[in-house]
């Protein structure tokens, strides 16, 4: 029979780990949000749902492909460092892809290669680690609608506000022409009432 003291000690250790894992998740994200560099990624949202975490909008980014030299050894599902730049409109663009961790001076984010296309297999499509924006149940669909409406208006732009620090990213908000999509949905729901 195992000693009761040992069992309690083991339980307490397990309990601390159970608390520490989610706490670490928070810590990592908070640190990126507080001290990371902000980027804007142009996007196109749609709304699926997850059984445990609820409704979210999936973000598909316009700047997600990069031409590589054909015949390079890239594989689908592989991790890749995306080195970022900002264009004249203030949106993030891909400057380069790298297998090795880039220098500290560069802005980069860890992503995965979703697939490789093109007749020469030289067009890499990356998937960023910030493709889900969780929203309140009733608002995810509204958000998608609001987005579709802006699409008719070609001047408006939708983008995700993302902080990046040492290759890790934290998604802050999704914006339509500088206004948070949550505020837009709230306003629309208010108007409809």
């Amino acid at each position: 029979m195992v000693n009761k003291k040992t069992i309690i000690t083991v339980f307490v250790i397990v309990a601390i780990i159970q608390l520490a894992v989610p706490a670490k998740m928070i810590w990592d994200k908070e640190s990126i949000l507080k001290t990371g560099k902000e980027f804007k990624f142009e996007t196109a949202p749609v709304d699926p749902s997850d059984p445990f975490r609820g409704k979210y909008i999936t973000l598909e980014f316009k700047e997600n492909s990069y031409k590589i030299q054909s015949g390079s050894e890239w594989q689908e599902g592989e991790e890749v460092y995306v080195i970022l730049n900002t264009n004249s409109k203030g949106f993030a663009t891909i400057k380069d892809l790298s297998k090795a961790k880039p220098d500290e001076g560069l802005d980069y984010v860890k992503a995965t290669i979703q697939y490789i296309t093109g007749p020469l297999l030289d067009n890499v499509i990356v998937s960023y680690p910030f493709d889900r924006f969780y929203m309140e149940e009733s608002k995810a669909y509204e958000a998608e609608k609001a987005y579709n409406e802006t699409q008719l208006d070609s001047i408006k732009t939708t983008y995700a506000l993302v902080n990046i620090k040492k290759g890790n990213a934290a998604l802050k908000d999704v914006m339509i022409d500088g206004v948070s999509i949550i505020d837009i949905v709230n306003e629309n729901q208010h108007k409809n009432k």
Binding site: V10, F11, D50, F52, F130, R132, Y134, M135
Partner: protein, 427 residues
């Protein structure tokens, strides 16, 4: 209770003394825990599962009105409360099973709720499979610490969900190797339970959940060289059957021997699937897929399972002669030979049909010999299904198809009638 009535009668008739009667009563009282107590456990577990799932659904709503801090506090609150509850239970000297089971179940769901809510607040991407993996790893030690009986069941369901989510439900998918490690981690508890209380209901439940989980998860290897997977599955069901026939986990009865049932039903399903000609035509077409067989994970998986199945078959042969061997025990070896032949000729499907017929006839004979209605009807059911699949789809005229069905029906009646009659005369 009827036994008390019987005991009184026996005392009055002078067959047993009142002292013996007391002993008998005590024996039965010890043996069966009171039914109300068991009911408490069941309701405790059900309540905890419902509350836990309820909390997760409430969280999934994603409350905009709450600030980030409030949400974070709410994420940790159920987790901390159920952790305290568990510590309290561990500290207490004697505590009812209902408490242990409900508290552990609550803790199980609070872990899920907490990490779900955190990843919701911070829009952490990761697909569902990675969330389930973290959840199950965090819960795993509690199976051993809390010594709860529901814990391994919840955990096995969780890791199966993880494997299915990673491989079947999402794209791009991957082979969830972690599943096998997680499964391995729960086995010591399983072996201890089987040794300590071979008659427990929880063991029967694990006997159902574990083979089903493995059956679901095995398919995750099937990305390349998928035809080896048929061998792997055939051997897996053979392995299950032989584990059941060896009575490794619990008693002899069919009802509490899910390994045998799952093994037999799985084997039959595969036999029926491979009894069509198209199955073997496709096998020949995808032959070049098997060229690099030595590099395929599926080949090694199939080999490993087959070796295990042979091991348990040999073990079974130590207690039984070849004549007494149940028909389902060595079938996986037959399939491997047929699978080899199938690489050269598609007419193997005819042999598979012969095997199905042989299985059903041998099962019927076994049922008749043992005077077991269940086995007899199982054999009849196999042959009926076979006739339905083989003949009812073809272009035979309605008259012949009708006659076939009538013959089967009459066959069922006569077989059962003769058996019952035989029983009566014997009894």
């Amino acid at each position: 209770m009827s036994i008390q009535k019987d005991i009184r009668e026996l005392i009055e008739a002078g067959i047993i003394t009142s002292e013996t009667a007391k002993k008998i009563e005590e024996h039965y009282a010890k043996k069966s825990s009171s039914p109300t107590n068991r009911l408490f456990v069941v309701f405790g577990i059900l309540g905890a599962i419902l509350v836990g799932l309820g909390i997760i659904l409430m969280i999934a709503h994603n409350w905009d009105e709450l600030s980030k801090t409030t949400k974070t506090v709410l994420a940790f609150l159920p987790l901390i409360l159920s952790q305290f509850l568990c510590v309290y239970i561990l500290l207490k000297k004697s505590v009812s099973k209902a408490w242990v089971e409900s508290a552990t179940t609550l803790l199980f769901f609070s872990i899920g709720a907490c990490i779900s809510l955190i990843s919701q607040i911070y829009h952490i991407p990761g697909n569902l499979s990675s969330l389930l993996l973290v959840w199950m790893v965090l819960f795993l030690p509690l199976i051993y610490v809390m010594k709860s009986s529901v814990a391994p069941l919840l955990y096995i369901v969780g890791i199966t969900y993880y494997a299915a989510e990673a491989s079947y439900f999402s794209y791009p998918n991957f082979v969830p190797y972690a599943y096998w490690g997680l499964l391995l981690a729960v086995l010591p508890q399983y072996f201890i339970l089987a040794k300590k209380s071979p008659k427990s209901n929880y063991l029967t439940l694990e006997n159902i959940v574990i083979p089903l989980s493995v059956t679901i998860a095995l398919g995750t290897f099937s990305s390349v060289g998928s035809y080896f997977m048929y061998v792997a599955y055939f051997s897996l069901f053979g392995l299950f059957y032989n584990i059941g026939a060896n009575n490794l986990f619990g008693s002899n009865k069919t009802r509490s021997n899910p390994y045998k049932v799952i093994g037999a039903l799985g084997t039959l399903t595969l036999l029926f699937v491979s009894s069509f000609e198209w199955f073997w035509l496709e096998a020949i077409q995808s032959k070049n897929e098997l060229e690099n067989w030595i590099t395929y994970v599926s080949f090694w998986v199939a080999l490993g399972i087959t070796v295990l199945a042979i091991f348990y078959l040999l073990k079974l042969l130590k207690t039984k002669s070849i004549r007494e061997l149940p028909i389902f025990a060595p079938l996986f070896l037959v399939f491997i030979i047929l699978f080899g032949l199938g690489q050269f000729s598609s007419s193997v499907w005819i042999l598979i049909n012969v095997v199905i017929l042989a299985v059903s006839i041998l099962t019927i004979i076994e049922g008749a010999k043992k005077e077991h209605l269940g086995i007899l009807n199982f054999g009849l059911a196999i042959i009926t299904l076979w006739i339905i699949i083989r003949f009812l789809n073809t272009d035979l005229s309605f008259i012949i198809r009708g006659l076939l069905l009538i013959t089967i029906g009459v066959g069922f009646f006569t077989a059962n009638y003769l058996m019952l009659k035989k029983r009566k005369t014997n009894g």
